[in-house]
Symmetry: C2
């Protein structure tokens, strides 16, 4: 997943953002430096900063201003991951031990709190009230999405609509505002910012659906954590929902999920995954991801033609092809 | 602790703030509403909003603007309490079960995240960048303070200075900026805002020292949670530090704390508390609280005479007399 290879033009600016990311968590308190650094070093695609910079290309591109949303957005994403790992009881992420595994849940919780706060503090370097309104609203929605996810564990009665609302909050919104804020900070027109938002929102939806597919069909090597972890924690994703709609597969899948919930020691999650793979759920989910990708492309088509627009198109294709 | 009885003048405005507090957490997601409501209903003195309103009296008092810092500051305080309870493994707070006890740690974590985000979102109703800078800086410091507290559990080698730095971040800063932001939002002069900050900072320090004393010397009825909980979790507070400086008490106290840490089932925390009460540590801590109260009073004396100033004086006396 070497997204950066796609476009050399951004390389220098992304290196700057990377340095600023590290600088942002330097020097406050030893343990927090260590845990935060551990988190940043684990890598990640830095997708949100890339979206910010590309969004900025649709207005007056000023890296010095853009950094104050690019860095915060990546920090917010990282903070949400640390808190997520506490919930998921995750031992590894991106192939490395999680903060909660290397230290503990409490330290992971405060590391997240610290990184959230740092992100917001950095963003206040920009005086534009609109930026702060967009950011804080997204944070509220994200936390609602996280809570919905916990509440919906093992809820086999949820609809596709319900799932979409949840991943909208959990994932798509932050990607949407990354594209939007780049444009807003660069002083692009409201029409352009809103098209970029629409692009980001749809790419974010496609991205999360692909992520959910990867968790079922990926290998530990390709996804950096053991596959099937959604299944094991009762996180009912779209391929599961589609499979449950299937008359013959519904009953055995419900039984497997119930087995996971009861935790009798047997490997019910492999059982569930095999049932899902035997039916049309995977292909249906792939199709849904493609619908969102197409919507993202449609939003792009309304933007003025430019190198940045081409890059956004490449990212959309990349997201839609994440391999497993 | 009926602070509100002290001054009828603020009653109507504080009722408005109370309603806005409840409104702020309405309607998003069922479980979050429930957990957040539970937290707000558990009460509390609403000290931070009172400070905001009193701070606002030193400029152009506008409740409609002041609410957007008064409500966020109380929300931030509440969010920090939910996360605190996760760390402390606290079963009760203010006489009621904590969110983590009634639900679980994960739900408490996301309830905190949600309330933090809501607080920041509300504050963005004010366009003043200074407000957001002050708020987010304080959030960073608070999270550092929380991490320091975890790191320092059972650290019997810490100095008075170290303790003071920690409670500064953990408690005093948020109270300081409550007073300051009231004045800033009301457009008071920088000199007045900074005197109010100084008052709030010193009152906050006195308040935390009194709180630490209450945990050792209070009753379950007077403090709303079982006394000695700091001791049991290894939170080394100022009366402990003073007692450890005492030649004859150091060794038995170290042994009792070591016993708590090892958790052999014996009641080493009562033992530790008895040792502390037998020495001069309690009285020394009381004296230190009085030093901070006096500093707060000195800051007040430089403010123009007014009803608000009298109220701030009354609060300082109230804090300094919290009974146990």
């Amino acid at each position: 997943m070497k997204l950066m290879d796609i476009f050399g033009t951004l390389k220098k600016d992304m290196d700057f953002i990377e340095r600023q990311l590290y600088r942002s968590i330097e020097g406050d308190e030893e343990l927090l430096n260590e845990t935060s650094l551990h988190l940043l070093k684990a890598g990640g695609k830095r997708l949100r900063p890339i979206f910010v910079l590309l969004g900025g290309k649709f207005g007056t591109y000023d890296l010095n201003r853009l950094q104050y949303v690019a860095v915060p957005l990546e920090l917010i994403h990282s903070a949400s991951l640390v808190h997520d790992d506490v919930i998921d009881d995750a031992g590894t992420r991106r192939g490395k031990p999680t903060v909660k595994a290397k230290w503990d849940n409490k330290i992971a919780m405060y590391t997240g709190d610290y990184i959230y706060a740092k992100a917001l503090m950095l963003a206040t370097r920009l005086p534009d009230p609109e930026v702060h309104q967009i950011l804080s609203k997204a944070l509220v929605q994200m936390s609602i999405g996280e809570m919905e996810q916990i509440r919906d564990f093992f809820n086999t009665e949820q609809s596709v609509r319900h799932y979409l609302l949840r991943i909208r909050r959990k994932t798509a919104l932050l990607i949407a505002i990354s594209c939007q804020l780049g444009a807003v900070v660069a002083g692009a027109s409201p029409q352009i910012s809103s098209l970029l938002y629409r692009y980001g929102y749809n790419i974010g939806m496609a991205f999360q659906i692909r992520d959910d597919l990867l968790d079922l069909c990926g290998t530990e090597k390709s996804i950096g954590k053991p596959p099937g972890s959604d299944m094991r924690q009762g996180n009912i994703t779209i391929p599961v929902i589609y499979t449950l709609e299937h008359r013959e597969l519904r009953k055995p899948l419900l039984e497997a999920i119930d087995g996971i919930r009861k935790g009798d020691g047997a490997d019910h999650s492999s059982e569930a995954i095999n049932i899902i793979k035997s039916g049309p759920g995977i292909a249906q989910a792939e199709q849904l991801a493609e619908v969102f990708t197409a919507k993202a492309m449609a939003a792009l088509d309304q933007l003025p033609e430019s190198k940045a627009r081409t890059h956004l198109k490449e990212i959309a294709l990349f997201v839609n092809k994440r391999s497993y």
